[in-house]
Structures are given as C-alpha cells and as structure tokens.
C-alpha cells in the first residue's frame, strides 16, 4: 500500500506555494460548474494535462493512476447521462470530473505533505480563539498519513500469521481474530509513539504521566 503521491521534480509548478495551487484548483472547480460547456471543459482538461505533463514534468502514469481510481464513476455517469439526458451533457459531466480529478492529482503530486499541512494549519489559525491548536491539527494529519500504511502492514502480518496456522480472516470470527490483536498492537504502538513524540520535543505532557503509563517491554 502506498500513499506516495508526491513526485519530486524541479519545476515551476512545484515551486508555486501550496495555497496558490489549492486556490487555483478551487477556481477551476467553480469555473467548470459555472460554465458547463464542452469547449470550456475540454480546454480545462487539456490545460490540466499541459500543466501536469508539460510544466510539472509529471510521469503520465502518476495521472493515469488517479484517473483509474474513478474510472467506474466516470463510466456510470456516462451511461446515466446518456440514458436520462443526452450525449453532450454526459460528455461535459464526465470530462469535468476527469479534469478536476487530474487537477487535484497535479496539486498533490507537486506539493509536499508538509506544505499542504501548513496551509491547513493557517486555515485553522482562527480556531485559536476557541482553544484549538492548529499545529496539533497539522501533526494529526501528518501522522494519519504516515501510519495508514503501517496499520495496513500490521493487519497483513496478523492475517498471514493466522493463515500460517490454518486460520481464515473471513467472516465474523476472522474479523474478530484480526481486529483484536490489531487493536492490542495499535495500543502498544500508540504508547511508544507518544513516548517518541515526547522524546523529540512535543513536550506538553504533564510530568506525572510516567508514573501512570503502562510498562514498556522491560
């Protein structure tokens, strides 16, 4: 499993600040819904491809991978609108969605997670007045992205361990025998992660915590 959407390159698109790219993406979405005509949608799609493949020098596979994830949605929309509307409407709807998906793919492929998270932190800054700490929101997002593949890997290991002993991950029993050890592992891991955050200066844990914490593997 991979969440590796960022494609490192030295391009002008990569250098554009994350906030600017997200604004452009939002503006494109507004434009395509405000002016839903075939020439505009086709022009937008070609423009996105020109930016992604030309200016940003992304590999075609990076964009094709994102398009593949929505192929069944696109096919469904095409069939639905062809049957219940008309072919031009179907074409506009499908190409518009494709253009937006590819535009989003260009943004994520040219923007580091930290830059994206920094934008979210800036957007959350007004929440400080109600006691929310934007840095914490950013850390949570980063950690979620970091640990999703780790979680999937741990679940795979548990399933393999059960399969090696003749077990099956199917059905309610399979779910229980996978979820329970996974939860135990995650709780142990969460404790170690909290220690690692403390050790690297996250810093705001009350000093008494150590006395209450569960025992590490001594």
């Amino acid at each position: 499993m991979t969440l590796a959407l960022y494609v490192p390159r030295r391009s002008v698109v990569h250098r554009v600040p994350a906030g600017g790219k997200l604004l452009a993406l939002a503006a494109l979405a507004v434009l395509l819904f405000a002016v839903p005509t075939l020439p505009v949608v086709v022009a937008a799609l070609l423009g996105v491809l020109a930016v992604g493949l030309g200016a940003a020098r992304l590999p075609a596979t990076a964009l094709a991978r994102q398009a593949r994830t929505v192929r069944w949605w696109l096919a469904g929309l095409l069939v639905f609108h062809t049957l219940f509307s008309d072919l031009p409407t179907a074409a506009v709807t499908v190409l518009r969605l494709l253009a937006l998906v590819l535009a989003a793919a260009v943004v994520t492929a040219t923007t580091r997670v930290t830059e994206m998270v920094a934008v979210i932190e800036r957007l959350c800054a007004p929440l400080r007045v109600v006691g929310v700490r934007p840095a914490r929101i950013g850390l949570v997002i980063s950690m979620a992205l970091r640990f999703i593949p780790v979680l999937a890997e741990r679940a795979d290991r548990i399933r393999e361990a059960q399969a090696a002993r003749g077990g099956s991950a199917r059905g309610i029993r399979g779910l229980r025998t996978t979820v329970t050890p996974l939860l135990v592992q995650l709780l142990q891991m969460a404790h170690t992660i909290s220690e690692a955050l403390d050790a690297r200066g996250a810093d705001d844990v009350p000093p008494a915590r150590g006395r209450r914490s569960p025992a590490p593997a001594a």
């Binding site: 960022y6 840095a135 850390l139 980063s142 970091r146 403390d198 690297r200 150590g210 006395r211 001594a218």
Partner: protein
C-alpha cells in the same frame, strides 16, 4: 509546527560535567516493582546495559531522559532533575527506540528528520541545512522526499537515529537498536553508534555491540547486579543466565 513551551526554570542550571546520576531510584508500575534502589553515576562515553526480558532495563533507559519518572529517588542529567526540568533533560538526552516504525511520525524522510527541530523552533533555513547534512551522513540523502514506510528496516532505523541526532543532544540512549535488524544493518547501526561523539547508553541483547564500551551494567530483577568493564560484566551476565 511548533509547540508552546514554558520558560526554563530559573533554578535549573545545567552542569555538563556532572553526567547522569541516579540517586536511590525505584520505579513501579502499579504494585509491580520494576527497579529498586538504583544508585549510579554515569560519566563514561560508552555505557552498555544488559539483562533478561522483563529485568527492568527498558524502564531504566526511559528514566534517563524523563520518559519515565521515578516513583522514588532522583534522576539528574547534568545536574537537572528529570522531574523538575523534563523538557530541558529531553533536549539533552536523545532516545532511539527499538522499533523505528513507532518513532517515525511524518510521511516522508526529510519531514520526519525535521520534526524535532521544528519543536525546538529552529529557523527554516537552518533546519533544512541540518536535515540535509544528517541525511547525507546516514546515507539517506537520496531518499529525502521518499515515503518513510517504503524504506528498508535498516534505513528506517538510520532515519530514527538521524531524527534524534539532528537535534544535537549531548547524550543518546538506545533501547535495543539492533534487535529488529539483519546482520548487515545491525553492523551498520553499531558502526554509527561507535562513531558518535556523544555519551551513549545502549540497552541491548546483542553482546557484541558492547565491544569497546567503557562500562556495562547488568540488570536483573530490577536491580543492578553487576557494574564493570564489558568483559567482566558480560561474563557475570552469562553466568547469571546459565544458572536459570
């Protein structure tokens, strides 16, 4: 991302010459004693800690940078009490965990290496420079923008070490740093540890890791049962294990 930190305590004055001191330290989890009456003064450059599973050595390691606070007694790092000056102690004592997957908290290599520096409020330009330098030093320069979860086990452990050393701690505690590694990567990590300028405390089951160390502690049943040069301490540890 920066976190709010309280001002340093005015009475917390560090004296690097004092090393790490444990004075009458005991620790228990609930009713279960894990360490009992430990008195030590650690000033040597290379200190090893060995002991059976459950002997209390991981708890001992965590006491040294305030991840665990003693139930009774005092742990002093450069004269700073871990209870009163835990943040300052953690800046001085880096900690490398056994499982790097639980230590790497950001999605990509460079972002994770920078995490501790962000917490310290290091300016962006200096942060980038230090991250570049530390990744190059540990053979990770070509992986700076790569997802951390795609690194090999050895590379993950090197990233975990880089993420600590980039903060330039005066001392580093390693909790079984080679346990999950193959022989090649274990040797690589051992070499990295051997080349460090900082004071190093290594908790390990791999006795060859302690070659050339100055001092080795043997922990058993929550007590320091041997405290000697490596050869004598390891012989005592082997004898202890053979009696079981």
């Amino acid at each position: 991302m920066r976190f709010r930190r309280p001002e340093p305590r005015p009475d917390a004055v560090a004296d690097p010459a004092r090393g790490i001191e444990l004075r009458g330290v005991s620790h228990r989890y609930g009713d279960r004693p894990v360490l009992t009456d430990v008195d030590l003064h650690l000033t040597e450059a290379r200190i090893g800690v060995v002991g059976a599973n459950g002997s209390g050595k991981s708890t001992f390691a965590r006491l040294l940078n305030g991840l665990v606070l003693p139930t009774s007694g005092q742990v002093l790092v450069d004269g700073l009490d871990t209870r009163a000056s835990v943040r300052e102690v953690r800046r001085r004592v880096g900690f490398v965990f056994q499982d790097p997957d639980a230590q790497i908290v950001h999605p990509t290599v460079a972002e994770d290496a920078a995490y501790g520096l962000e917490n310290q409020g290091v300016p962006t330009a200096e942060r980038a420079e230090r991250v570049t330098e530390v990744l190059a030093r540990y053979g990770l320069a070509g992986h700076a923008d790569h997802p951390a979860h795609l690194l090999s086990g050895g590379q993950k452990q090197l990233l975990a070490i880089a993420g600590v050393l980039v903060m330039r701690p005066a001392r580093v505690v390693f909790d079984e740093p080679t346990t999950l590694l193959d022989l090649v990567n274990a040797r690589r990590v051992a070499r990295v540890i051997g080349e460090l300028e900082q004071q190093v405390v290594v908790v390990t089951h791999q006795l060859d890791l302690l070659d050339g160390f100055d001092r080795v502690l043997v922990v058993d049943g929550g007590r320091i049962v041997e405290d000697a040069a490596p050869r004598a301490a390891i012989a005592a540890y082997r004898a202890l294990m053979e009696r079981r």
